[in-house]
């Protein structure tokens, strides 16, 4: 069928020619897809504002030989506005979009769980109910878990010995017991390990009560875990404050 209609989250845009853009979207049914949006950089464009990153849209595309072309767009939730008005939300949100684009590598392959996770994450971020960094850390851990890199913060990642343990190894997949601990493993406190587990499971009561020092240490471990399993570093992550 040449015309496809789907819900989508805009991941990024690239300039094309004089006034067009290539829009990369994570769609509900088709996974990651790219489409040309013609004339959207002109100020008179009727749907240029709807095809900005972070926008949750209902989009209709015409399937071409190489790239699809956007023919209609309706806004479902204009998440770009609250996120872009706050620089901390913007940097955290951009890292979430970059992560989604990296994890869902193949185009036109359904990634429904990743779609719902990203949508939920961006809505939580825009709602400002929790700190941007905590929302980002929780998103990173959960998106990696869906992709098959689920970390463990209680049992030992290598031998399964019950925890909590006070050693963390990104290559081995999280907490490690004293017997399995490899050289160079981090040594976080029990509180940090419990915070990491809360971020993974979405226990926001525990996350919001954590002290700043533990939050920073947990963020560092999440960043190390993410960068290791994504294989290439996230360009936007160092800009998150």
């Amino acid at each position: 069928m040449p015309v496809a209609r789907d819900e989508a989250i805009v991941l990024r845009t690239n300039k094309l020619g004089e006034a067009d853009r290539i829009v990369t979207m994570l769609t509900h049914r088709r996974g990651k897809t790219r489409a040309v949006a013609k004339g959207v950089r002109r100020t008179a464009s009727r749907y240029g504002a709807r095809l900005e990153p972070f926008m949750h849209i209902d989009v209709q595309t015409f399937q071409g030989r190489t790239l699809d072309t956007v023919t209609q767009v309706e806004t479902i939730d204009a998440l770009a506005r609250p996120i872009c008005d706050d620089y901390d939300l913007y940097t955290a949100g951009t890292t979430m979009l970059e992560t989604a684009s990296r994890i869902v590598a193949a185009e036109d392959e359904p990634a429904v769980q990743q779609y719902w996770l990203l949508l939920g994450g961006l809505k939580t971020l825009a709602g400002k109910a929790h700190t941007p960094r905590a929302v980002l850390d929780s998103y990173l851990l959960r998106s990696l878990a869906i992709a098959g890199y689920a970390p463990t913060f209680t049992e030992c990642a290598r031998c399964g010995a019950p925890g909590p343990h006070q050693a963390f190894s990104a290559p081995w997949g999280g907490a490690v017991c004293p017997q399995c601990r490899p050289p160079g493993a981090a040594a976080p406190s029990i509180e940090v390990m419990l915070l990491l587990a809360a971020l993974l499971t979405g226990d926001w009561a525990t996350v919001d009560q954590a002290i700043v020092r533990d939050q920073r240490e947990a963020s560092g471990l999440v960043a190390a875990f993410s960068q290791y399993h994504l294989e290439r570093s996230l360009r936007s992550l160092p800009m998150v404050e």
Partner: protein, 209 residues
């Protein structure tokens, strides 16, 4: 025998192909356009081609960036910064030199400019330190400037850059304003998207008494 599709690259060689390749590297110019421009140049009068070549070399050699605002210039300071009739107390912050031209066309603004050299775009690895934000802060230190107009593009990157600048500038005693967003003049209200229309409502102004 299998037949392989013939591309532009397969047909030409030597200087013609080099010219097509170089033209094809320009923004917005594809292989077909590059071929058309190349043959236009080959058909043109040698004096016209020499003038084009001289203009390209001269522009690259002589054009530089203004030490004060970052706009394109042919001297240490651009014409706008060197103009004594310009108001020193207002600075309009834009992303690119092209934006200066767009605002100058309005003939509404008589202050000076500051060109950032882009917008914050973390996915492309462009952070605040890659823009001329430090130079902007240095320009505001002497207390002469009373208003900073943030005229970054009304897109995600531009809005985020404006939010970052607003946060940085709150530490300095200066009035911070942002260009209004809203309906394009000459358009129909029914065709406006809800984001733009929402902005227009937020930025509505009082008329009459």
């Amino acid at each position: 025998m299998s037949t392989k599709p013939t591309t532009i690259k397969d047909v030409y060689e030597g200087a013609v192909q080099d010219l097509i390749d170089e033209l094809g590297r320009l923004p917005g110019v594809g292989p077909k356009s590059a071929q058309r421009i190349a043959f236009h140049i080959l058909d043109a009068d040698p004096a016209d081609v020499q003038r084009l070549a001289t203009a390209l070399v001269e522009a690259k050699a002589r054009v530089r960036f203004c030490d004060v605002c970052g706009n394109v210039a042919q001297a240490e300071t651009c014409q706008i910064c060197a103009d004594p009739r310009r108001i020193d107390t207002v600075i309009c912050v834009v992303e690119e030199s092209k934006d200066v031209v767009a605002i100058e066309r309005t003939r509404e603004f008589r202050g000076k400019y500051h060109v950032l050299g882009g917008a914050i775009n973390p996915i492309d690895g462009i952070g605040p330190s890659d823009l001329r934000i430090r130079e902007l802060m240095a320009r505001l230190q002497d207390g002469v400037v009373q208003e900073v107009i943030l005229a970054t593009d009304p897109n995600v990157e531009g809005e985020a850059t404006a939010a970052y600048l607003a946060r940085m500038l709150t530490a300095i005693e200066v009035k911070i304003t942002r260009l209004a967003s809203g309906l394009p003049v000459g358009g129909d209200l029914e065709f406006a998207d809800e984001v733009t229309l929402g902005r227009a409502f937020e930025g509505r102004t009082l008329i009459g008494s």
